[in-house]
């Protein structure tokens, strides 16, 4: 019940954005079309497909934030994952070999998981503040990606199966959407059907009390940073596969800020404790839809950041109980005014 209420405000904003787009461009906006090659297309499907990398990162970020942490390094990890996969593939003689693509993806994911575990160890065992621990890799990570690619932008052949990760479709639905949906479902089941979610919330609420209660809070902290970096690496793979190239400087640039924004829009407090994976997913779709809305209603690029700020501002205000009480005061007062009268009657009796 409370969960549904939490999701209500982001959902209302998302619906409003969709209505604006339908008014601006017609009902085609929301109705998926079928492309010549049999996969689903259309404006909204495109938004979902393009939002997949951000969703993966935002989901990982939600778990990290639930433990009262933050991970600023996800954009750099995205670039590292993309760089490793693309460089491995272009270094090989036959870029179309399925085994090669599989091992390139595996190497990229293992490296990003190790990076995440390193972040987690710094936070959990060395007691470094999360914002500082992950800031180091946020700055240095793109340098690592540049070293991997030798300062160039490696371009994978269009014929390589690797590009299917970003451009292909399974049962007509684009593969990035499948991956994002699978990760969302898996994380939701893991945290809501097992005790893991409760443990996360307890670590975020009070790590010391959790430890005294017998929860291995350090291990859990390392685990969430590992999962977060793994998600970021996976997001980098999808982004690189979509373009067929890895840009160490610009790939996933500032995506950590969009991810944090999506988490906040989704109703997870940065103070740690309660978290809402589904809310985060809605937040990501809001951000993705917003970027298209700016083009569809004919605003110029200069408006992009301002429009984003306004929407986030509105969502944040709507989610604040204090603000809602304040704005509803004049409306609520009228029914409240006659209230003393029956109270007197009661007293009179």
């Amino acid at each position: 019940m409370n969960y549904a209420k939490r999701l209500m405000w982001p959902l209302i904003i998302l619906l409003a954005l969709i209505v604006v787009n339908i008014v601006a461009t017609g009902v085609d906006f929301i109705v998926p079309s079928v492309n010549e090659d049999g996969r689903l297309g259309g404006a909204f499907v495109n938004i979902l497909r393009r939002s997949a990398p951000l969703l993966l990162i935002a989901l990982g970020m939600t778990l990290v934030i639930a433990t009262k942490g933050i991970d600023l390094s996800v954009g750099a990890v995205y670039a590292i994952g993309a760089a490793i996969a693309c460089q491995t593939i272009i270094d090989a003689p036959d870029q179309t070999a399925a085994g090669l693509v599989f091992s390139a993806v595996a190497i990229a994911l293992v490296v990003t998981a190790v990076i995440g575990a390193w972040n987690g160890v710094m936070v959990a065992y060395f007691g470094i503040q999360p914002i500082v621990a992950t800031l180091i890799l946020m700055i240095a990570g793109r340098g690592i990606a540049q070293l991997v690619t030798g300062g160039q932008i490696p371009k994978v052949q269009d014929s390589s199966p690797f590009t299917e990760l970003g451009r292909g479709a399974f049962l007509a639905v684009p593969i990035p959407i499948w991956i994002a949906a699978l990760v969302l479902t898996a994380l939701a089941l893991l945290t809501r059907r097992t005790a893991l979610g409760m443990l996360l919330e307890s670590v975020g609420g009070n790590p010391e009390a959790s430890r005294l209660a017998g929860i291995r809070s350090k291990g859990i902290t390392v685990l969430v940073y590992l999962v977060c970096a793994l998600c970021a690496g996976l997001a980098g793979l999808i982004g690189a596969a979509n373009l067929g190239s890895a840009d160490a400087n610009n790939g996933g640039l500032w995506i950590e800020l969009d991810a944090i924004l999506a988490v906040v829009i989704g109703g997870t407090a940065l103070l740690g404790g309660r978290f809402f994976l589904l809310g985060t997913a809605i937040g990501v779709v809001i951000i993705g839809t917003l970027e298209d809305t700016i083009i569809n209603v004919g605003l110029s690029s200069q408006w992009q950041f301002t429009a984003k700020a306004i929407v986030v501002f509105v969502v944040a205000l709507l989610q604040s109980p204090e603000f809602r009480a304040w704005i509803l005061k004049p409306i609520k007062r009228r029914p409240a005014a006659p209230a003393p009268a029956p109270a007197e009657e009661v007293q009179a009796k």
Partner: protein, 332 residues
């Protein structure tokens, strides 16, 4: 107290600097020890293939040029602090000419003043600094972004003069909002279209932030919003965005270069390859290989010759008939 002392020294140095200017040439020639010039180059970093090609060109040209004794090369890794530090080191080492490719336009007054006080001329490469500091450098060698836009516009006017349906419908992918190349490439392009009286409609124009990722995303939205039927021309401010857009057009089931004509600015290997494959129609070069031209300017400046405040880099244009021949010459 310390500030006042420093300000006093600065003011004094400034006064002497005015008179020292005339004599600066002698000491400059003397410092070169007769063999050639010592040049300090504070480069932005290695943030793109364009930049890497630029650094290599300057280093190779200095190596090959007998008039240059030594090039002191500093990679500032996109950090202004490091660049300022590099310029200060060049001043201490008494190099003959300082070449600076400023990361950003502002914040150079102090260090450029120090160079002027030391009698060392400064040449800007590629990017510029804010107008208030104009007196503190000798010349800027770089791309004329507005001219690049005008070249693209001229081709559009020529190509679409005989457009059967009368109006040329254009999509534009702009560079990073507010950046000089984005502003000037846009302005130059439409300046020519307006001046030549080509009947056109700018269907949509959005920023793709100079990256393939955003170029592709924006193009996908253009296609779902406007469709591609009836669109004549796509003008992309750099080739990364253009290449991203080409993918989006192909995935939507259209033929880039045939169903929609495409102009890109930059001209990397990947851009030319797309041209050879028939996926785009016109490339306006933004040339990073200006090492030799830079060395000429440096020597002129060191000899105290009069140079223009802005020296444009030599840049070409390429149409479909030239892509294949030019591809092997591409440096980045």
């Amino acid at each position: 107290m310390l500030k006042q002392v420093l300000a006093g020294i600065g003011a004094g140095a400034l006064l002497f600097g005015l008179t020292a200017c005339g004599g600066g040439d002698d000491s400059g020639d003397g410092g070169g020890s007769g063999d050639g010039l010592v040049v300090g180059f504070a480069q932005v970093g290695a943030e793109s293939a364009w930049r890497t090609a630029n650094s290599e060109s300057v280093q190779a040209a200095a190596e090959a040029d007998d008039r240059i004794a030594e090039l002191k090369f500093v990679d500032a890794q996109q950090d202004q602090e490091k660049q300022i530090e590099a310029v200060r080191n060049f001043i201490t080492q008494q190099v003959d000419v300082i070449v600076l490719a400023p990361v950003v336009e502002t914040g150079w007054t102090d260090v450029l003043q120090e160079a002027a006080d030391a009698g060392i001329p400064v040449v800007l490469a590629d990017r510029g600094v804010e107008a208030a500091d104009e007196d503190l450098y000798v010349t800027r060698l770089g791309s004329d972004f507005a001219e690049e836009g005008r070249k693209a516009g001229a081709w559009a006017v020529e190509t679409f003069a005989e457009d059967p349906d009368g109006t040329t419908r254009i999509l534009e992918l702009q560079g990073t909002t507010g950046s000089a190349p984005a502003n000037d490439r846009k302005a130059g392009f439409f300046e020519v279209l307006d001046a030549e009286g080509l009947p056109y409609e700018l269907v949509d124009s959005q920023s793709g932030n100079f990256t393939a990722e955003e170029g592709k995303a924006v193009m996908e939205t253009f296609i779902t919003t406007h469709g591609l039927d009836g669109i004549d021309l796509l003008y992309a401010h750099n080739d990364e965005m253009g290449l991203g857009a080409i993918q989006a057009i192909e995935e939507a089931g259209y033929q880039p270069g045939t169903d929609i004509q495409i102009i890109i600015v930059d001209g990397s290997k990947a851009g030319f390859q797309a041209g050879v494959d028939g996926k785009l129609n016109y490339i306006v070069e933004c040339n990073p290989v200006f090492g030799e031209q830079l060395m000429d300017v440096v020597v002129q400046v060191a000899n105290g010759e009069e140079v223009e405040k802005f020296t444009p880099v030599e840049e070409g244009v390429f149409d479909a008939s030239q892509f294949e021949a030019e591809l092997p010459n591409r440096k980045f």
